[in-house]
Symmetry: C2
Subunit: 267 residues, 2 copies
């Protein structure tokens, strides 16, 4: 996975440990929005790959936005820190997945992204999504932009799915939904979806699901007793399809919009 040979071509180390990405040698090229870009880009415009050691921060809050990232290898977590110092794990990122899109808005990141183990990432400056277009300067190519938009749209969608996970289920349901989603994504990343190693600690899982870590630990034990899964440390084997039984909460009656309620006098 680590390919020191290609990192020999270190440009006048403009950024620590970054080197131009070799897309043609990347196994993720099929799913990468940067693939298929014109090769004629300037040096500040091309994808840059970087090796990251376990525990290292890839993005810090307040840091300047310099592009979105795609995971080539390894696992990452992103989290925000509130003014009072409390943290919230907002997501995990598997090989082939993206992060860093929160910084586009105002050019400054709000989330931290940290490597959960040693891996490598590819930084895609927004200019990667442009194509050089005559003398008029950079124009956004329709196809590139669309893929970027889709990327962000899918992120929005996934985040909203998380509302379901966080809200509509019991602690057990939350964990099952989380594991089910993780399993699916592990499969997409090329792992065996029914048997893999959890890349994050119980603490991270608990924080992400807004549970106490003891609850997570107990649930693992319980699910193992029920024969749903086997877990030893972080090694996980899924034995039965994970299906969360939701808790019903403040159901919205009926929404067929058949009944357009008369306008309240809120002007």
């Amino acid at each position: 996975m680590s390919n020191p040979a290609s990192t020999n071509i270190v440009m006048m180390n403009r950024d620590r440990h970054e080197s131009p990405a070799s897309c043609h040698a990347c196994s993720r090229v099929g799913r990468c929005p940067a693939a298929g870009r014109p090769e004629s880009l300037g040096q500040t415009d091309q994808p840059m790959q970087k090796l990251v050691k376990s525990g290292k921060l890839v993005i810090e809050a307040e840091a300047k936005f310099e592009g979105i990232y795609v995971v080539r290898a390894g696992f990452f977590k992103s989290y925000t820190v509130d003014t009072d110092g409390s943290m919230q794990v907002t997501g995990f990122h598997l090989p082939g997945e993206f992060f860093g899109m929160d910084g586009i808005e105002d050019g400054v990141h709000k989330e931290y992204v940290q490597a959960l183990d040693t891996g490598s990432i590819c930084r895609l400056p927004l200019e990667v999504f442009c194509s050089l277009n005559g003398a008029a300067g950079h124009e956004w190519s329709t196809q590139m932009t669309r893929s970027l938009l889709k990327l962000m749209s899918s992120t929005i969608r996934r985040d909203r799915d998380m509302f379901f996970t966080l809200g509509k289920t019991t602690a057990k349901g939350r964990l099952l939904t989380f594991l089910s989603d993780l399993s699916r994504r592990m499969g997409l990343s090329g792992y065996d979806p029914s048997e893999f190693r959890l890349c994050m600690s119980r603490t991270d899982i608990a924080n992400h699901l807004c549970l106490a870590l003891e609850t997570v630990s107990r649930l693992f034990t319980q699910l193992q007793a029920e024969g749903v899964l086997e877990i030893s440390g972080r090694a996980l084997r899924i034995l039965e399809p994970l299906d969360a039984t939701p808790r019903k909460l403040a159901a919205i009656p009926d929404v067929s919009a058949r009944r357009a309620v008369a306008e309240p006098k809120t002007a």
Copy 2:
């Protein structure tokens, strides 16, 4: 707010009640990403405004994506429906805010968006964010695309803030955070942030915050007893700055990344 005069110019009613938007007369033009677009767009490419009656669905799940929407007047809620029929209110939309970005990914919406009272919206086809560029067809103008990207980036960011609201606090903290955010946004929309009318039912609030509606009702009563706010029906007056006292949950120890942990043997 409703301006029937302008709706007289109904084009051969290609869509129910839609008419070309008159941006120059729109009070939101300063914050709208469609503002400043070339006027030379074709008829299918321009913003379309629409009056919406209370209770009406603006977007249905499975519906084809036809653009993102900006609220001109009124209030809206969006929600998803799970396979088992359970619902989750994913957000509320105030005047000047946007919705519908979940449909960009695959051209199909996943959320429902419903009018909470009578209002009006503006539909912005993605083509609005293009500029006609010679014979090559539609090219995305850098500025337009950037504003769209920022829009989506801010949506991602706000959604992630919601994780905080949902997770790190008690029921009371959740409600306070929600009200605080709502107050701020009401201010941005031109209302008095310390005294406004809740546009949604207790049921919607409870669902959005993943609480029982009785809990929400009790909390309002309690907060009023504490002198934090006054509430009568949906009329709300905020007396003290709303500050949520978080419940500490699976705190992440220290993250200064000062200590780059040695690489585990997960290859």
